[in-house]
């Protein structure tokens, strides 16, 4: 296992990257990005068997990750760059004309690390299931991972994919839900409640696990490693990971209002004051 204190240092730097990126272009999605920092840092620095320096679309022999809720691209780009997929300095091009770091992730600009476009919600689970089937056909024992927003689960296609994955024993796949309870218009419970989400996935035939605090690095790592023990047992695996939208920046927490809003100059200063620069800003 990677050194936890190193991962925590990286997490602080990633949070600085996120708020600086969205501030620089006065757009983007800081809330969900901040809430998923531990997940991405753990995944790309401790969990995935991958090859950042030599990215290939097919990723044969590598674990694959699909981001279905593409709007949290700031955390994705920061972690990919700091894992070595592309230069950290490229983060300054985020959302600017001619960038590879589009507002929502895409393969169209050939950014290393990205294997599917996402942004229009609800499509990533189907893609992950297809990629998992491709691995099985290729007798490739590596694992497919995906991340989904909880609000995103309101899309019907998710449940088509969930039905398929269980019925067809897609057991080389671990999905995770960023279960922060918030979406653009407010609390998920008020916009369109997911009801008993755990019971729903269990009823669909998934091994359904939980991470009580997805902003606790140790819990995230042990939670994903626990999920790995359920691979190859004839059922897809999903982790319901409780996170706090906006985690790490006090005024962004406890509200849905920073889902898709960038901080102004003063707010940026306040945020950076709460986030230690550990590895050097881009």
């Amino acid at each position: 296992m990677a050194n936890i204190s190193e991962l925590k240092k990286l997490s602080s730097q990633v949070r600085r990257d996120i708020v600086r990126m969205v501030h620089a272009v006065n757009s983007g999605h800081p809330g969900g990005s901040l809430g998923c920092v531990e997940f991405f840092v753990a995944l790309y620095n401790d969990i995935l068997k991958h090859n950042p320096k030599n990215f290939t679309m097919d990723g044969k022999g590598e674990d694959l990750f699909f981001l279905s809720n593409g709007h949290i691209s700031p955390v994705y780009y920061s972690v990919l760059s700091r894992a070595g997929y592309f230069p950290v300095s490229e983060l300054k091009t985020f959302r600017k004309l001619n960038t590879r770091l589009q507002g929502h992730p895409t393969t169209h600009e050939n950014l290393p690390g990205v294997r599917i476009a996402s942004g229009s919600l609800g499509q990533g689970m189907s893609v992950a299931v297809g990629a998992a089937l491709s691995k099985k056909l290729n007798k490739d024992n590596s694992v497919v991972y995906s991340l989904h927003g909880d609000g995103e689960l309101q899309e019907g296609q998710i449940w088509e994919a969930a039905l398929y994955a269980a019925a067809n024993k897609i057991d080389n796949y671990i999905a995770t839900v960023d279960y922060n309870g918030r979406q653009i218009d407010g609390d998920v419970d008020n916009v369109l409640s997911l009801g008993n989400l755990k019971a729903k996935f269990e009823a669909f035939g998934w091994t359904t696990l939980e991470i009580a605090n997805g902003n606790d690095m140790e819990q995230v790592i042990s939670g994903i490693k626990n999920a790995q023990t359920y691979l190859g047992k004839g059922k897809p695996v999903i982790i319901l990971m409780r996170t706090e939208m906006g985690y790490g920046v006090d005024y962004m927490m406890g509200t849905h209002k920073w889902h898709g809003k960038a901080p102004n100059d003063d707010q940026l200063k306040a945020a950076l004051g709460q986030l230690e620069e550990t590895l050097g800003d881009y």
């Binding site: 679309m57 097919d58 990723g59 044969k60 694959l64 699909f66 895409t106 393969t107 169209h108 294997r115 599917i116 476009a117 996402s118 942004g119 229009s120 609800g122 499509q123 990533g124 689970m125 189907s126 893609v127 992950a128 299931v129 297809g130 990629a131 998992a132 089937l133 491709s134 691995k135 056909l137 290729n138 490739d140 019907g156 296609q157 088509e160 994919a161 039905l163 398929y164 067809n168």
Partner: protein, 317 residues
Amino acid sequence: MTKYSFTEKKDTRSGFGAGLLEIGKQDANVVALCADLTESLKMDAFAKEFPDRFFQVGIAEANMIGMAAGLTIGGKIPFTGTFANFSTGRVYDQIRQSVAYSDKNVKICASHAGLTLGEDGATHQILEDIGLMKMLPNMTVINTCDFNQTKAATIAVAKHHGPVYLRFGRPAVPNFTAPDQKFEIGKAVVLTEGKDVTIIATGHLVWKAIEAEAKLAEAGISAEVINIHTIKPLDEEAILKSIAKTKCVVTAEEHQMNGGLGDSVAQLLSRKSPTPQEFVAVNDSFGESGTPDELMKKYGLETDNIIEAAKKVIKRK
């Protein structure tokens, strides 16, 4: 007498099924997905021969398109199969984001396109699918005319890297193209040479164009018939070459006038060589229940409609 002959009528969807089975034997990376229409799409032979490479997804087309996109990662060549309506309109955003924008090597294979689906009526008779698909950047759009051409096209698209929309249909139609034809994506096929009018047809209207040519010849009118199986990319050179000779054109298709082959031809001609054009196509209308022949007649997609359009456009020169 038509200049082409046929010994039997066959459905284009069976050409797809035969082509899929053959390319499946040639290339182990070819996989197929179907949304509960395996027999209708004639995918059953592939499913039986390659059960590990055939995925029955149920009535869940959006998931099917996403899964197909995922399957390409690792080198698979997925062919999705369902009716044209459920292959396009129902899953437009999935195709747009996960396939076309993501540049995934998915072959979207669509049967029962157009009015000739018949009695099921307008809910199933999509007449907008060519337009929907050709508007997507990065998408190749093919509409084949008979069994042999559909089989050849199915094999050809597997060897072409990139997203493809392959459109075919339900009824048995004259199987007149060569069984051993070389299918070149983006290449028009000049079926008859003529000097008075160019008739550009796609899909089921190609045979009707051939019939029209014969009847026009009896009336002393020389028609050049071009089979456009690839609507995008359009073979601009072949069309411009023909128009330079005939100076007028009729386009014929089992599709809406808006967004179809005729619309692509008109765009080309307005840019490169403004030319009188008449459209044999459905004019801003949904279809309805009826037999294929009744529907083609009612909506003006018959041989006689092509003849009438040809005579009309010649007068506009």
